[in-house]
Amino acid sequence: MYRYDEFDHAFVNERVAEFRDQVARRLSGELTEEQFRPLRLRNGLYLQLHAYMLRIAIPYGQLSPRQLRQLAMIGRRWDRGYGHFTTRQNLQFNWIKLVDVPDVLAALAEVEMHCIQTSGNCVRNVTSDPYAAAANDELEDPRVWCEILRQWSTLHPEFNWLPRKFKIAVSGAAEDRAATAFHDIGLRLVRGPNGENGFRVLVGGGMGRTPYVGQVIREFLPKEHLLSYVDSILRVYNLHGRRDNIYKARIKILVNAMGIDKFREEVEADWNATNKAAIDLPEDELRRIASYFAPPELPEQAPRDEALAARRESDPRFANWYRNNVLPHRVPGYASVVVSLKEPGRTPGDASSDAMDFVADLAERFGHNEVRVNYTQNLVLPHAALADVPAIYDALAGAGLATGNNELLGDMICCPGLDYCNLANARSIPIAKEIAKKFEDPERQTEIGKIRVNMSGCINACGHHHSGNIGILGVDKKGTELYQITLGGSPKDDASVGKIIGPGFRAENVPEAIDTIVDTYVENRREGENFLDTWRRVGPAPFKEALYGAR
């Protein structure tokens, strides 16, 4: 993984010292809250419902065991012993004290982490495929490009005060596991006309109150021009994006107001006028950064492990977990293992400091010192020998982390909602827990098959409800929490925005409504169909009938 050089260390340490001074000036009265607020936000510090919340960037979702242990330590020493992994592959601590934040930032700097640009109208943490350099359908490692974008966008003088926040995702595999179509810029590594790799560039995707699927601005961009092209997109956005209305300030609004053709024309004109050599990364620098991402040396293993096969035969719980949470690896004899943070009864995405330490230990023992955060709020050990998988399972089971529900109904994405968030209108965590209880039976989840259920506690859509096969949105209706249900969303290659199925439900009726929707899907599906296939074939009528027929 990328290691800070002298410049990086000095820069991050300077920022820690700067913020230490700013906190001191706030506490002494030299700065008012109005003056301090933008400074703390630039360092990822929000004032939420209960307390301060610190959002820590996990670049493209990659962590070393040392970093994960440091996060565990921070949770234990300065928070309440747990943190929350988010849909942007970041970690949030919910109970940090302002007076402690400078020390927390210093502790993060020790392990080459920070909170810079995790808030504010700037380029945020670049997200990616959690199975990078492990998945067997990968064309090229996206992390190299994420790191290049990270370095380029950090304190970029022209793009630090954009009309609104800006999110970029990069995927290097055949399957989109980074929801690229729902980002301001989505980058897909693809094979070009002459067999070389480049990017298909999507622009203007997003969630929030006005959801859009990103549109293709360029079918193929030679990868050496990534920075200059992204630079031109951001310049056109920075010039024309609205600053008069926060709800219309994202690039998706601009792209759709101008139309993709006109927007493309402006970007291409800017790009053609750009001195690309001044912006694009020199070849030797690209090679230098790429060298940090050399895959681990994986000792040769037998492609099939007999003990593992026997365990799958004899232990149904193990077999269920294996079927869902162990994914194929590009190296024979290896697998990627999903550590589910979705045990029924637990808050999706929350991990205790003990759990973080535990996963760090596992990564050292079995995982070649790598941990990834999935935007679906789980952790991943990307490189594990198949022969070690039973031992990993046994260890996880002992720690309550062996829930075999990856990509099943129990693997819900869920924002913090009104339990923590100042923007939320309704709770999401208790609803997710109630739904998880309703579908607790692993056999039922297996019968249903892969399905994405996403929930947000407000229209800002941090829980990606628009892209859920089943999406749940909490709203406040005259003081009562009400939940709108959308169907037919998808975050993948067939990206789509879910459609509202009908009137909302009171909190206590949501689990039953989800049950009805799932039953309707199962009754109507043809062999081999997933939820989206069935939904797209039969349309909303049977779902409406089942949900509201008696009304």
């Binding site: 706030r26 209960h50 307390a51 004290k97 302002l98 637990r346 205790s352 009104l418 923590y420």
Partner: protein, 98 residues
Amino acid sequence: MPSVVTANRLNDGIVVYLAPKGAWTESIADAARAETDDELKVLESAAEIAVQDRIVVGVYPMPIEIKEDGTVDPISVRERIRASHRTTLTEDWYDVPL
């Protein structure tokens, strides 16, 4: 309808309520209650001084109800959650009914 004044403490962000004699408390039960608009103005003035003194941020008044047993109901779900100071980590934590 009676009201109290709430805020977040500056140095740690924790939810607090203005108590009698200008103190701040984490317990809504101990908050100073205003029964009239004039009483609320007095509380808000005291809170404004606490903002200037850098004790709290984000001050606002909120209506409450006093139940028959004398306990304070913060009325809205949001304020019930704030008053509960609860975390979500443990399995069996939630006491604000759905």
